[in-house]
């Protein structure tokens, strides 16, 4: 099976997973469908052999974000009588059709190849400042969240 077929299959399954989030009533199952969608998104990267991103997505996006979402959904589990907002769904579908028709004209073939270990070797040095700023911001957000929840002065 070629990479393109895998990407197409993973894309269709990711859309089906997203549709599952939309139509399920239980928050817990919605979180499970979300994790499923995330796994299919990371498998799209795996099909193009971008292993570093696959590891990042699987560890952080699926492993941390997905797992924490499942825990929160299980803690505050509710079964609300719900249905998607039909007016907004119709409007969104209309916008999707317009944008899709515009993008459909793009015929550029996606050619992803090369040794990504070499390509990404420059990332820690070239983007060092960006990474430091991101880590600092994340630590600040974590400390603020702890302060808000525990209501203690740090």
């Amino acid at each position: 099976m070629s990479g393109d077929v895998i990407v197409l299959l993973a894309g269709i399954l990711a859309i089906l997973g997203a549709t599952g989030v939309l139509f399920t009533r239980d928050n817990f199952y919605a979180a499970l469908y979300l994790c499923l969608t995330m796994i299919f998104v990371s498998s799209m990267y795996a099909a193009y052999n971008i292993q570093q991103v696959v590891v990042l997505l699987t560890l952080i996006f699926v492993g941390v974000v997905g797992a924490v979402t499942i825990v929160v959904a299980a803690t505050y589990e509710t079964r609300l009588p719900r249905e998607p907002n039909k007016v907004w769904a119709a409007f969104t579908a209309l916008v999707f059709i317009i944008v899709a028709s515009a993008y459909y004209s793009i015929t550029t073939e996606l050619k992803i190849s090369g040794d990504f270990a070499k390509e990404f070797a420059t990332v820690p040095t070239e983007y060092f400042l960006v990474l430091v700023v991101l880590f600092t911001l994340m630590i600040l957000i974590v400390l603020s969240a702890i302060k808000l929840v525990k209501r203690v002065e740090l």
Binding site: I15, V21, A30, V53, L57, V72, V95, V123, I141
Partner: protein, 100 residues
């Protein structure tokens, strides 16, 4: 693989998440739909790897950081509202959110 197919997949996921966020009656469901939007964004970054892989990698890291930050902030607000109002419906924050 045509780039438009990947962009359309990304758009479909983002629009489904948008409808979900609009229809959400619960904060947890809102959190799930916003995370779903980030999944769509990550699909949209995939074609960038054919142009500049290093920059695309940084965009992936940036998206993951933003996603984690959003998760932290929403979980904090869910815990706070859960403590105060004993439920996490969106209606509870539409009135008097400032009292938190």
């Amino acid at each position: 693989m045509n780039i438009s197919a990947i962009i359309l997949t990304s758009l479909a996921i983002i629009f489904i998440a948008y409808v979900e966020a609009i229809s959400a009656k619960n904060l947890v469901r809102l959190l799930i739909s916003l995370e779903l939007m980030f999944a769509g964004v990550l699909v949209a970054i995939l074609p960038l790897f054919s142009v500049d892989p290093a920059m695309a990698f940084i965009f992936v890291i940036l998206t993951l950081f933003v996603s984690c930050s959003e998760l932290l902030i929403l979980i904090t607000s869910i815990i706070l509202i859960g403590k105060q109002k004993r439920r996490t419906d969106v209606d509870t924050i539409s009135v008097g959110g400032d009292s938190l």
